[in-house]
Amino acid sequence: MSAIIETENLTKIYHVDGREIRAVDGLNLTVYEGELFGYLGPNGSGKTTTILMLLGLISPTSGGGRVAGFDIIRESKAVRSVTGFIPEKFSFYEDLPAYDNLAYFAKLNGIVKNEIDDRIKWALNIVELSDWINAPVKTFSRGMRQRLALANILIKKPKIIFLDEPTAGLDPYATANFRSLIKRLNEEFNITIFLSSHMLHEVRQICNRIGFLNKGRLVAVDTIEGFMEKMGIKIILEATNLSDKLIKLIEALDDVNRVFKSNGELIIYAREDVRLDISKIVTSLGEHVLTLKIEPPTLEEVFFLVYGGEGR
């Protein structure tokens, strides 16, 4: 796969009330063509700033990058001609019908006049809004507006779609609908999706690869399977007494990465299956093993491991 988004030490510093805020700090990121990339991070971690820089809507303080082969600083107009963007907060022109809104943006996207009508109908059909073509946008629900925004982007047949918290504020049905639409666009039209979200479950459901962002820094990038592998084996221990001494002895085992108590259980992450050693330690302390099992780690656990249990 070839890279479609590449950044090199991309940095954005804001000065607010005399303070220096590093919204994005030395970002080195590669997203490949056809990927559904999840850009995960707590609120204020620099996700939106990254997207705005990639689209050339704000200038980086230092560093740079390329999107679809175009330089994000010198060729930002070309970047925007092959990309689509749905911001977290956006609005169409409420009094205008869906068709007029799409036609307006289609013209601004340089679509030739005699193609506009066909493309609008095609895009509205994909997002299942054909019946609403002449309805004013003010009559649309939030979910419908999101789909209309997707249609607005599809009209220009983009290579990449940037989505910033696309399902925030949507009801469960609209959320599921929108996610399946995104997956469809990725699979059917091979459009690269760059999905920014703070919702782990959302990213887990649809993305192939995930980048974790914290305080402007990219702290980890991998596939979901890759993250699971890095987490190692998750062992759950229930015993008659989970004493501090027991925890220290388990932690001292060579293959153990991390041990912590949770809801009366001991959670152990290890590189190898160390259940036999654990069992021996419990018995040596005169206690009894109640449960000793292996469970696959969840992405939530990866998330908490990456962020040390807290966001910004």
Partner: protein, 293 residues
Amino acid sequence: MSLLTVALKEFSDHVTSRRFLILFILLSILTVLSAFSSASRVASGFSITFSDVLTSGSLSIIYLIGQLGPLIGIALGFDSISKEMESGSILLLLSCPIYRDTILNGKILSGLLTILLTLGTSITLLTGFILAQPGIAPTIEELIRLLIYFVFAVIYILAYMALSLLTSIITKKTSMSLLISISTWIFFTYLIHTIASSIASLLPETDIEGRIRVLTMISLLSPYRHYNTFSRNIISPKFSIDPFSIFPRKSPFKPLTLMESLALSWPNLIIILSLLIIFLAASYIKFLKEEVR
């Protein structure tokens, strides 16, 4: 192409907006009233020319445009950028492959078209009524003078539109932008004369010349004063108001030729034009450097 797309959409928004329609209808009605008032003066036996009709009376076109023009300009500009920012449509616009100045150019062009439409309608209505009712036909020179006034009035209204465009970009809040624009207009059109009088009254009563100088200097800060001086001088050859004084020139009365009127009043034109350029330049600089977040 993109410029025209933005301009036509904005123009359509302007002419269908309630606030514009109210101002447009108000100006048209007042223009008709102005024409009727001049008709009644002719009927009363006054001998007046076409330019007299335009410059005299409490409802002259100069007065009407001077008062309502800034409001039209402000109405066209105060939410042009802030509304897009508040609603979030600005990000959809900016994510299109267009340069930022295209958006601003489109909005300014649409404002210009709307002003041309409004002012054009008003002056056509007035001319039509004056031709029909009192039956006074303009001379060629009067028509040229009216045309020059028309261009100047467009610049005057555009300057206020540019001011409110700037406040719209700086404040990013529609309500704040409107408040600042209206306050600026009220201050420089009405309050400044009261302030000038108050300051002048601080000088000794015997220093009449000093008082007049203070009064004149402060009132020169008012765009309305420059508008009024230029408009009267250019529309009517009978006016010869000094561009930097509150009194007519001391030379004996003699109607001025068009070139003499222009030579007399060009500083007022330059001042209004400078205001327009300053506000537009500041708007471009601020908007192009604005980091949308």
